[in-house]
Amino acid sequence: MKNFVGYLGRAFITFLQDLSSLYYLFRETVFQSFVLITDRKKLSQARLLTQIDEIGTQSLPLVLAVAGLLGVAMTVLISFQLKEVGGYSYIPGLVAVAIFREMGPLITALIVAGRVGAAFTARIGTMKVSEEILALETMAINPVRFLVVQRFIGLLFSLPALTTLASFMAVFGGFLFGSTRLGIRPDTYVRETLDVLTFTDVYSGVIKAGVFAVVIVMVGCYRGLVVEGGAEEVGRATMLSVVSSTLAIIVLDTVMTGAFYG
């Protein structure tokens, strides 16, 4: 029992230390982002488009495929319940609202955290253990500006865009199923969707995506920057990175959903 309490205490202290370090990393990243944006020469060297391509474009096929299937699955589940009460006309609106408010941002962020956040940790962690980050510091090059800022800006652009596309794709998946298998007329489906969906539903999803982008970059890069040791530690840090960002995304999603619609 004493050991368990000790373990909990140590875990809590480590959590607070991580949180404090993440805050300082975030502050430095925001500051260095302004430095980069205001320096035209450094901005041209920053390869932001490459980052957006790596993070956004290359995640697009997976995100769209998952989103489309999610839209179909949600429509199937909702139709199963509404069939009993003859409420098929509610399906388009229900699916669209659930996707834009909740499922679109959440699923996209979880996919990107697993795909991109893990890659950030693995790449930066490997650079740390092979002394590449120390080499940057020795050359008076700020590692946060060189390694974190371009990823931060890249994901801040990419994730809201990916989320919006994923939400549209999921709604389209629902539309396909609804109009082909449930017998809802396509024009009715579209009209019902547009009647229910509000601008707040769309922008709340985009805001959520922006917050999730910050979480994924900060956690992914932080876990990489604090790696000590060798390959085994890089693997452990990558696993921790995915677990931490997944947890943080789900907690923040609940908080934001409560704030927007609670």
């Binding site: 120390l134 080499a135 050359m139």
Partner: protein, 261 residues
């Protein structure tokens, strides 16, 4: 030029450096020798400002770099170069991009001039044709030469070398050793080399500092070190397995260790 005074460093209860004093003179080659795990790399990290000592100062000219933090270290770091043991080249950048990185970061020069500078640095290390390759496509020796070219990118006053010849074949080791000697002789660069390669030090060093148990055991010219009557120095430079330097790193008695449950 570089003066270390009373450097102490502990990792937990283990004392790694216990009051290191030495001076690396301007335009000279200083070798810091010591056995593996003897605190050489820790001392090097303190000398380049990557690690803070628990006590003591490191002066570059008259500037105490142990008092500097963050960007305060930048003026010092722009005047030094560092060759890491494994090269530490950025694997996502080509050889040319690696070398141009510090130049782009710290000078307003345009691309054409930077390209010429990169070619000049690569020519210095004999790898002018390898500009467009990635570090992963080069051998270990080539990577170290590229890393040296990068360390020289900003024409530093001092270059630090961490085990520059470890893991290399004898010919490549000789090439690297000759490069260090040439940099010092031709360009007047102060070189501080941390290694356990005694013969290499004897060949080109102006001064040798031997570390033992976290302290300076001996310092002097190669001739003075060779002539030392200290049995530990003699064992170290001859590489004899028998002598006062124990093969066993454990501090506890073996019999006691076995009898402990």
């Amino acid at each position: 030029m570089i003066r270390a005074h009373g450097i102490k460093k502990n990792y937990g209860v283990r004392t790694v450096l216990n009051g290191i004093d030495f001076v690396a003179e301007r335009k000279k080659i200083t070798y810091i020798l010591g056995s593996s795990g003897g605190g050489k790399s820790t001392l090097l990290k303190i000398l380049i400002g990557a690690l803070k000592p628990d006590d003591g100062q490191v002066f570059f000219h008259e500037m105490d770099i142990t008092k500097l933090r963050g960007t305060g270290l930048d003026p010092f770091r722009k005047k030094i170069g560092m060759l890491f043991q494994q090269g530490a080249l950025l694997n996502s950048l080509t050889v040319g991009e690696n070398i141009s990185l510090p130049i782009r970061e710290h000078t307003p020069l345009d691309d054409n001039i930077i390209k010429i500078m990169v070619k000049m640095k690569l020519e210095l290390v004999g790898l002018r044709d390898f500009e467009d390759l990635y570090p992963g496509q080069l051998s270990g020796g080539m990577q170290k030469r590229v890393a040296l070219a990068r360390a020289l990118a900003l024409d530093p006053e001092v270059v630090f070398f961490d085990e520059p010849t470890s893991g290399l074949d004898p010919i490549v080791s000789s090439v690297i050793t000759k490069l260090i000697s040439d940099l010092n002789r031709v360009l007047g660069i102060t070189c501080i080399v941390v290694t356990h390669a005694v013969e290499e030090a004897m060949k080109i060093a102006n001064k040798i500092v031997i570390l033992y148990k976290g302290m300076v055991l001996a310092e002097g010219t190669p001739a003075e070190i060779r002539g030392s009557s200290d049995p530990i120095v003699q064992q170290f430079i001859t590489g004899s397995p028998d002598g006062p330097i124990s093969f066993h790193a454990s501090s506890r008695d073996f019999r006691e260790d076995l009898l402990v449950e």
